[in-house]
């Protein structure tokens, strides 16, 4: 049931995306949003999930947002946020991550991040993980993130 719904959802999205790109192919191609300083935290042994951090820059004049993420390295990729609220640390999925016009979105420890669930291979320091981010205008950003072991702070 869930699977069927998800499939339907994906199909609808794809259809919407195709329709959109058919109408405004230039808009999708002209996106100048870029990424840098991507990295993935090496998960603990046998842990099947980890987080990816990256800085997304939008030098353009239109506000954009990241609405989806996917990767061959994980079964599911989600947009998440960590919030400090009344002394509590809360982790919750978010629908989109805003990248303001002429600004940036900083995905970093303690804040916004990309969660990789169901890792297919245990990532270790030195590996690279490729993630594709989809923007609200249908454009995609390819992110190549080195895996880093963060064992101790200086």
């Amino acid at each position: 049931m869930t699977r069927a719904l998800r499939l339907l959802h994906q199909t609808t999205l794809t259809a919407a995306f195709l329709a959109m790109s058919a109408i405004t192919p230039l808009a999708a191609q002209s996106t100048t949003v870029t990424s840098h300083d991507a990295w993935v935290r090496e998960p603990a042994p046998n842990r099947k999930q980890t987080a990816l951090f990256v800085v997304i820059e939008n030098p353009g004049t239109a506000a954009r947002s990241i609405v989806k993420a996917s990767s061959d390295a994980a079964e599911t990729v989600e947009l998440h946020e960590m919030i400090r609220d009344a002394g509590m640390m809360r982790m919750s999925p978010v629908k989109a991550i805003a990248v303001p016009a002429g600004g940036k979105a900083e995905l970093k420890p303690g804040g916004l991040h990309i969660m990789l669930f169901g890792l297919k291979k245990q990532p270790v320091d030195g590996d690279t993980i490729r993630v594709q981010l989809t923007l609200d205008d249908g454009a995609t950003i390819r992110v190549v993130a080195p895996v880093r072991k963060v064992g101790s702070m200086p």
């Binding site: 998960p43 603990a44 842990r47 002394g87 509590m88 809360r90 982790m91 303690g110």
Partner: protein, 199 residues
Amino acid sequence: MTRTVPRSSRLLASMAMVLTVATGCGGSSSDGPPVLPIGGDFVLTDHSGQRFESTSLRGKVVLVFFGYSFCPDFCPTTLSKLAAVTRRLGDAAPGIKTLYITVDPERDTPAVLKDDLANFKLDALGLTGSRAALDSVVNRFGARYEIVPTPESVAKYTVSHTTSVYVLDRRGRVRFELPYESSVEEILMSVSTLLKERP
């Protein structure tokens, strides 16, 4: 599904702490940091599946924090800070012990906690137990957590939790409650202060 440790106990603890500070009757005989009216001894299960009694750590300065392994951020960040503290202590490092107490016993079996600690160079125990036993410890430290269902995520649920690091003296009494933002230097200073006290 949502489970919250009663706020009243935390409030009482805070009030008692204010009174303690105001009257100067913290239980500490010297000018050192006051004894906070939280904490107390407990029995849980360590990451090797063995029974753990907090009284076994008398004579050591103990760092306690609550977390859960599914969160890939807070726990590694705190553990990496404490590993740095350990490194900076050098020869004095054997005088401290870290206790990482889970608030997610369904997912955090002893084996999971053991893996969680594997990447960090510090003398630490991951602790779990029954929900009731963990709630009792959480309560007594004035900590809080809340299980938040997230049906839209494959995580199914996340656990919101307080992020203080409690520093216990050699007699098992809580002397510092350090916020998450504390730097390695600040933690080091608290630990060093307590290491200088006589056991």
